[in-house]
Symmetry: C2
Subunit: 671 residues, 2 copies
């Protein structure tokens, strides 16, 4: 039965794994491996966050770039608070359930589902943004990638799906390499850059330093309320630095013991590196006069319509390693690689969250099924489809995607920390030890501050970006939320209906067998024989009169063959098949509501799909309709035609001579 | 159960007709109605045939138009012979079976199927060409139609499909009006035109008379072999005049008695009118200096790329009724209308031919099913789809479509007449009366001449047009031919396999009941109860172990409830459901090949399509696979959830207290 689709599946996914063959729990990783593997997502945002900040500032003209360090400082402050706050979360909830678990436990289903919706949107955008940014960097080395960016981005998403369907999680040690390569590149870039500028006093200018940049609104400077709004928008854009911090909170079980402590330590390390990277890149950008704008053709004097701004890191690498282009290229390639792996990390988190919600019955149970390679295949496919759709809709454009991105992340931050405040309050209620109480109170104060801060950022982001795309995220989150509620309520209803009652289900009073007949041929003969063998209380053959001549011939043959079963002919003035049969079955049920009706449908089975087109599909339609009638069982009596198998004679049951007696054959009443 | 699709169907198609409500046989029509109704197809070709001739000649430059009358004379000659020959066919085969019947009867299935393939292609092209030409004429009045020609043509095809699905055949008297209007318009055009030019001596010049037309090849004149080839191609194009003649031969039963005589008379009349129309239009075109070219932008000096040539009749109407534009507009509108009705006539012929071939088992039997309004709906939809595809592929361009058109028509002409030659030869074998023999011999000679002539035209058409599109028709005909052979051979194989043998089908030795269990809930309980009621020889419940915890819980509950049926647990290391069950069932069959296995599948039935997505589709997949196992019956035990109906309590069988005893309950062996 190896069809061509299953062959393709084998090629992409590989041979299936046995359930007991491979540990489904992630192995415990030492910090030097765990840190880089899970840090790809939070660290990689350094590759696009500074550009987003500069871009937002550019609306105020070239002069506004001077505010970049201050905005970066604001972002760094939020980052410090969030890291400190999440270190508390990690210690309190070391199970890896992350924000969803915290919110669901402390805020109830409404909070839990809101966080889940936010995280789903966030995960899809992480993949889309990271892949799009990776393409940007790749395009700075290989220009053809830029001109076909959507196609390359879609191919990257497809590759991620394939990698994760194969479930090569055991190679995670390999996955540490991109992060180390990226960090090495950044250290070289920043170190060498600062040494050249500050140490040697080289006069370095970024390729974009000489461009004449105009503001978006008045053209001149910005002041007052407009300036505040400009800075807030830049801050909102820069907050993208914080994305990916959740990844670490979800991955506590993957660390070596003591897991919570090591995870909290890793979080601190990642937070410090993030801030250093942000500071270093913004500093270098200012020192080299690097400019980055929102609308190149509109803001840059003399820029053509197809002018593409190289990514910030690519510009810096070109400026600083101008004398060694191979090094510059390596730095940019490492950045592209870490971005790709950041997207890959998400393919762990999303399916796990999906499985978790499926086991809580908020999502279809298919998301809780492990595929051939023990991964949650359906979640992987869903994430791939969602990210692919985003890439397609926004043509793999980082700028447009970023506008949608931050809302989900900060919704999760805020609700999760609010949940933690409740968590500490609950613990405080029963705690009497003063030292412990002080510890709880400090933790609560910190997390309350964190929640307020991220809540404030969320408001800023919403105000600054609502009509630029954030509304789409809000809408999708709302839809996901309502969908999950509806699914849960459906499953609950079904479970309630299906719970066995104390009254034992009873046997039907009588069983009426109805054999559908269209022609006197082998499938009909077998269905009649089989129906008899089930010893029903009554047995009738039924045919529908569509063509009077056909029916007359059928009746004559029925008589001629001396078939002892009575043949009932139902009229069908409108040439339908299904409705008259349903009516007939209903009439039996109406006469004796406690009886059961079994409808025997002789079917022939063909082997090739196109052969199905040549035979009436009315049996299939009829079966579907009969399922809606209560107290009606449907038995298919299949007859395998030669084409359904190449194993030789199709059926022994009929051709082989019988050796045993026919029990009870004549004793069956045939009213 | 009135879904939105069925509501749409009611709106388009109307209320269904009872089988006995309306005569399916066409009513007998008096000649004055029958003639115009069936003549729309053959006569309407006068609207585009002259243009095709002029167009082909234009390749030789403006000077070549002088040959137009001679080419027209050649076409007229062929038309005379074909009409005379078909009058014999109509008398010999008055049943309305047409060319297919003649060829199948006299040349065997190869000839019959070849003619059928040719006619199918011909019918689709008749619709496409007629609709495209109608759009051309409509566009001469309403220019917006020309700029959206494909859309308007597709809408026209859709309208034709809808009209014919409603089956408004009883209004055929109305359908005579367009033909009479068209003929009246032509008489006025030709009469007034000839009077003005020859009688009054007006100097009339067509709008295209002043254009400077260049040849396609050398630019200068053509002579020798090139001239002969030019004339042959013009002749091939002009032969399109003959299309539609078959329609009359198929419609003999619709005439009043004596049917064959009246049909033959109608054919003669239509032939004469066709020749007169062709002659008159070519004459007027020559007298007004009308020019029509193949490639306007290439051949006409100074023509822009989007220059559209108005149809010949439209140009003549504008020239001759220039002083009365309303009259000109009416003539063109009548022409558009008759072309539309020519396409409509085809919607009678194609489905009838399809039904005929379906009843001969060369096509799927669905083509032999009458729809709600007693029409052969599937044939109508198929013709609409084919014609729509042609319109779309060739952008409703008459010129491109015509190249594909004539091949099918002349294949049918030639084979049908060849069949008639055999027919007369067979009759002559047994006929002794000298007068009758002479009559037969004359008829045979005439039809042999006709066959040779149309065969020669077919060769000319193939040579002249093969690489311009005729190859597409040939390819489609070949595919249809092979397809019909394959379908027939499939049906024959199935019929052979299904014929009841003399050995009576025997009852299975023993019946093993297998109830599939995933959870202990109401559907499972019912399936167990029902399986018991069928009194099998053995009864086992079977579950597949995918998740060890789930299975352990299931087994505990099974024990706890004291269910007396043994529960078999099948291991599934690769988390599949279908394969382990198939293997289990096969193992039972292997042990006792003469026994039958009945698999009971508890299913729950939901009312809304999206609810199906929330429940595992494995039951459906399993049922499909089980059908391929011989000796295995599949019984669905449906459980209707509340959402499947709004009629209140879903099931009385279980909830209502039982009043009767349970017969034989304990006597069933449960090994």
């Amino acid at each position: 039965m190896a069809s061509s689709t299953s062959l393709l599946k084998r090629l992409v996914v590989g041979r299936p794994f046995r359930s007991d063959q491979s540990p489904t729990e992630p192995t415990s990783l030492p910090k030097r491996v765990a840190l880089p593997v899970f840090a790809a997502d939070p660290l990689s945002s350094a590759a696009y966050a500074p550009a987003q900040m500069l871009m937002a500032l550019s609306a105020g003209g070239a002069a506004a770039f001077v505010y970049a360090p201050w905005v970066a400082a604001g972002v760094a402050l939020v980052l410090v608070v969030v890291v400190a706050s999440y270190r508390q979360t990690v210690r309190a909830y070391p199970s890896g359930g992350g924000d969803y678990e915290v919110a669901a436990t402390n805020l109830g289903p409404v909070g839990g589902l809101t966080v889940a919706s936010a995280l789903f949107v966030d995960y899809m955008l992480t993949v889309a943004v990271s892949v799009a940014a990776a393409i940007d960097h790749l395009g700075a080395i290989v220009p053809v990638v830029t001109s076909h960016r959507t196609a390359f981005a879609l191919a990257a998403v497809a590759l991620l799906v394939a990698i994760n369907l194969r479930g090569v999680r055991q190679h995670q040690v390999l996955f540490a390499i991109p992060t180390y390569a990226f960090l090495a590149g950044m250290v070289a870039l920043v170190g060498w850059g600062l040494w050249r500028i500050l140490g040697r006093g080289d006069d370095l200018a970024a390729p974009s330093a000489d461009l004449e940049v105009a503001g978006l609104a008045t053209g001149g400077g910005v002041a007052g309320v407009a300036l505040i709004f400009l800075l807030l928008r830049a801050f909102a854009s820069g907050s993208v630095t914080l994305t990916g911090m959740q990844t670490l909170a979800n991955q506590v079980p993957a660390f070596k013991a003591p897991k919570p402590r090591n995870a909290a330590l890793a979080m601190l390390t990642v937070g410090i590196i993030s801030i250093l990277l942000l500071a270093a890149i913004v500093t270098l950008a200012r020192l080299t006069g690097l400019q980055y704008v929102e609308d190149p053709s509109g803001q840059i004097t003399g820029a053509s319509d197809d002018y593409v701004q190289p990514p910030v890191t690519a510009q810096l690498a070109e400026t600083i390693f101008g004398h060694a282009p191979v090094v510059a290229m390596l730095v940019v390639a490492a950045t592209a690689l870490v971005l790709f792996f950041a997207a890959n990390t998400t393919f762990d988190g999303f399916p796990l969250l999906g499985a978790r919600l499926a086991s809580d019955r908020y999502l279809p149970r298919q998301l809780h099924t492990r595929g051939d390679r023990l991964a949650f295949s359906n979640g992987i496919l869903l994430l791939g489809a969602g990210a692919g759709l985003l890439v397609l809709a926004f043509r793999a454009d980082v700028v447009s995607l970023i506008h949608l991105y931050i809302v989900g992340v900060f919704t999760a931050f805020t609700l999760s920390q609010a949940g933690m405040v409740r968590h500490w309050t609950r613990l405080l209620r029963d705690e009497r030890d003063p030292a412990t109480r002080r510890h709880y109170q400090r933790a609560r104060a910190l997390q309350a501050f964190g929640a307020s801060l991220t809540g404030a950022v969320l408001v800023v982001v919403l105000v600054a970006k609502f009509n630029r795309g954030a509304w789409i995220s809000i809408a999708v989150m709302a839809i996901l939320y309502l969908l999950m509620r509806a699914i849960r309520s459906h499953y609950d209803t079904v479970a309630r209906e299906l719970t066995p009652t104390d009254i034992k289900p009873v046997l039907p009073a009588r069983n009426h067998a109805v054999v559908l007949v269209s022609k006197v041929h082998m499938p009909t003969m077998r269905a009649l024989a089989y129906a008899r063998a089930t010893r029903p209380d009554t047995l009738t053959a039924v045919t529908v009169r569509v063509d009077p001549d056909d029916t007359r011939m059928l009746m004559a043959e029925w008589e001629g063959r001396g078939l002892e079963v009575p043949l009932t002919v139902i009229d069908s003035p409108y040439r339908e098949i299904t409705r008259p049969i349903i009516e007939y079955v209903k009439s039996i049920r109406r006469e004796s509501p406690r009886d059961v009706v079994t409808v025997f449908i002789p079917e022939y089975v063909v082997g090739r799909w196109w052969e199905n087109l040549l035979h009436n599909q009315s049996a299939l339609r009829l079966k579907g309709r009969l399922h809606f009638e209560s107290g009606v069982m449907v038995t298919s009596v299949p007859w395998q035609l030669a084409s359904s198998s190449r194993k030789g004679p199709t059926d022994r049951m009929v051709r082989a001579p019988r050796t045993r007696d026919v029990p009870d054959f004549e004793r069956i009443p045939e009213d």
